[in-house]
């Protein structure tokens, strides 16, 4: 039976971790590779790097991070942030990434997803969906440019389009919950998981193991992504997986 994945996310800026984990035994708390190795040892099922480098000049740093991570972590590694084209994706995959998450570029031109899927296969193409509830409560809109621009596009419609265009997975982030640590937006998750046949990663809002459990049990997520609960060291990846398993969710343990 396929297991639910726990995916720690590391925000990387100019090759350094911005929002990382506070493991006291790390020599360099800002080194993404050392943190990736710590998560690997802790039993993470997959890793996600989010490159929040603002400048074009700094983009090369993430390639070095990916390449060095692939030297020591033999687990699936995804990377997102600033991916505009199939050529950007190719560089990341050749550096050692297994998946490339595409956000703004795919919303503006969904054919980017098709170009990547044709070249590298749908299994490595993740459509990142940043969604925020509409004021009238009628649903959710897609926001781009790191959550700064409301596109007016309906999130459920976009997710279905992204899959039709070649995305093999959806990374679904609730902009309302991101950083709030009040739990995933279960209504949003259910709307998207009910609309697409590919795996959906829940993101944005996890503050406890109960939130991770709810994301899977109530939101029907196939994987749960979290940053801050692991970052602050309150819960280890192993503890999270054990709690999810105890709640009856199929997990890879040990």
């Amino acid at each position: 039976m396929l297991k639910v994945r726990v995916i720690p996310c590391l925000d990387v800026k100019d090759g350094r971790v911005v929002k990382g984990i506070n493991f006291i035994d790390l020599r360099d708390a800002g080194d993404p590779v050392e943190q990736a190795a710590a998560y690997d040892a802790a039993g993470a099922d997959e890793l996600m790097f989010l490159d929040i480098t603002a400048s074009h000049e700094g983009r090369g740093a993430i390639l070095d991070v990916i390449a060095r991570t692939a030297e020591v972590c033999f687990m699936p590694v995804g990377v997102g942030g600033g991916v505009r084209s199939a050529e950007d994706a190719r560089k990341l995959l050749r550096a050692g990434a297994d998946k490339v998450s595409i956000n703004t570029a795919a919303v503006e031109n969904p054919d980017v997803l098709t170009a990547c899927a044709d070249a590298f296969g749908s299994q490595c193409v993740v459509a990142a969906v940043d969604a925020k509830a509409r004021a009238d409560g009628s649903g959710w809109n897609i926001w781009t440019y790191g959550g700064r621009r409301d596109t007016g596009i309906d999130a459920v419609n976009y997710a279905a389009l992204a899959v039709a265009k070649g995305a093999g997975e959806i990374l679904l982030t609730s902009m309302d919950r991101d950083g709030a640590r009040t739990g995933y937006d279960i209504g949003l998750l259910r709307a998207i998981t009910g609309a697409v046949g590919v795996p959906v990663i829940a993101s944005g809002g996890a503050g406890s193991t109960a939130d991770l459990i709810a994301g899977v049990r109530d939101g029907h997520a196939d994987a749960v992504l979290a940053a801050s609960i692991f970052h602050f060291g309150e819960i280890s990846v192993g503890e999270a997986k054990a709690a999810m398993s105890a709640a009856g969710i199929p997990m890879r343990l040990g």
Binding site: L2, D40, Q123
Partner: protein
């Protein structure tokens, strides 16, 4: 000391496979990354990686002059141990039915078809960690019972001869996770992404004496 040739035909998982093989071999110098038919023809062992579509991968192999012939020479005539990974495993089939019918290497008879789970709660692609159930085989030696491996695929290899399926996995129906016949083997999952279990399987392959 024997070496292993990792065939470089543009597959996306080549760098990860090379690094994992170097760790499994305990010596990076034992891993030769090449698409040179002369190198492949005299290889001690061969690993064929692969991600993406069946037809694209088979096309990339065939467009390298003499490469498929060199693989046949090493693996079929000389008996060099062979491991295909993911689409590299699927290419062992007689044919693939992804998009169009494409002829494979036909080293193990059978077809590559879309996974068709029993109900739509099973997502496609089959993506993530899943357990193997299988019989004893040198490639699985020393692994835990029902080991977890990392899968990411929508198509699977359905061999004609069930005895070539060494281990299977369930995703709303079973499919071949490990196939083997004499010196030819293939794995649907990604050992280079399966942490300790995957590295152990690669070490087993490097020590395999079929």
């Amino acid at each position: 000391m024997s070496s292993v040739v990792l065939i470089d035909y543009g597959s996306g998982n080549l760098p990860s496979a090379a690094k994992a093989l170097a760790v499994a071999a305990g010596d990076p110098a034992r891993v030769i990354v090449s698409d040179d038919p002369a190198v492949v023809a005299r290889a001690d062992r061969i690993v064929l990686p692969g991600v993406g579509a069946f037809a694209a991968c088979m096309g990339a192999l065939r467009e390298r002059d003499g490469l498929v012939e060199a693989m046949n020479e090493a693996v079929r005539s000389r008996g060099a141990p062979f491991l295909g990974i993911c689409v590299g495993m699927q290419l062992l089939a007689t044919r693939g039915l992804e998009f169009a019918v494409t002829q494979g290497l036909d080293w193990i008879g059978g077809e590559v078809r879309l996974l068709t789970p029993s109900d739509d709660s099973f997502k496609i692609p089959h993506m993530g960690w899943n357990a193997l159930s299988g019989s004893a085989h040198p490639l699985l030696a020393g692994l835990p019972d029902q080991p977890h491996m990392y899968f990411t695929h929508s198509y699977a290899f359905y061999p004609e001869d069930p005895s070539t399926v060494v281990a299977s996995t369930d995703h709303g129906g079973t499919f071949a996770a490990v196939v083997a016949r004499s010196n030819v083997a293939g794995v649907q999952f990604h050992p280079e992404k399966s942490q300790a279990n995957g590295l152990k399987l690669l070490t087993n392959f490097l020590e395999w004496k079929p």
